[in-house]
Symmetry: C2
Subunit: 153 residues, 2 copies
């Protein structure tokens, strides 16, 4: 049961210059979300929400995503204990992307591979990847024991 | 003609723990891109690249996107003069999202509505939007005179 009602997108002016939340969900019913650590402003991850997970996120202040690999609502931290407490939500000009600024529970990490941020590698000129995080914060095999890896090839 | 060859995604281990760029393009041939201002770390916009625009971006160090509304390669700044010079590219764990860190030409703005960042509004508890950028950097009607608004309802 949805607690929040999102506005209907009627005009470009309302969407871009208005004061009402009118999020656009794509053909799969999803909106991309950039998750940032509140305070450090570090980009932690890029995920997706459907209408229900956005509603839950706003209602509980805990980040809920839509897991595209598991095809279900994904309350971040449910397995790892690393919940994300939402401090602020931003939306972009055409309201088809969100930023959530969060505080992290537990070890203060967010990436299922064990790093703090999912963006732990940079692309060099020769297309090789360089690790900018040198050490994992946690051991994913311990934290996610028995769970399937969400990465899709 | 593509200058860069991206790696083939063979195993999860190579994708997550490896040193080779193996970007995943979605069913529409696109990868999401978070654009950040180098130095300030401000998130400016969220866009998409196809294989060709990623190739061009890496080759020229100028941000090229795929415009979903115009359905063509979009060299950012071509109309406005506000080119984005790429200083760094990061990729996430499963290699299906990029961050590009850029320096901005011109007025130092990035949003087609006239603000510096596309994320100029925050979502309040009652779902109303509050403007966190108080003034536009430029007048879009002047800069984009005669161009169609890219926002899709």
């Amino acid at each position: 049961m949805m607690k929040n009602k999102f506005g209907k997108r009627i005009s470009i002016e309302q969407v871009e210059e208005g004061n009402s939340l009118m999020p656009k969900f794509d053909d799969n019913g999803l909106i991309p979300v950039i998750t940032v650590e509140s305070g450090t402003e570090l980009i932690l991850m890029h995920g997706y929400m459907n209408e229900e997970s956005l509603d839950l996120s706003i209602d509980t202040n805990l980040a809920h995503y839509w897991s595209r690999s598991r095809k279900k609502i994904w309350k971040k931290g449910e397995t790892s204990g690393q919940f994300q407490h939402i401090k602020e939500i931003l939306i972009d000009d055409d309201q088809d992307c969100l930023i959530i600024k969060v505080e992290l529970d537990g070890l203060g990490a967010s990436c299922h591979v064990g790093y703090k941020s999912c963006f732990y590698r940079k692309v060099d000129k020769d297309l090789s990847l360089e690790f900018i995080e040198k050490e994992k914060v946690f051991d994913p095999e311990e934290v996610y024991e028995g769970e399937e890896n969400p990465t899709i090839l």
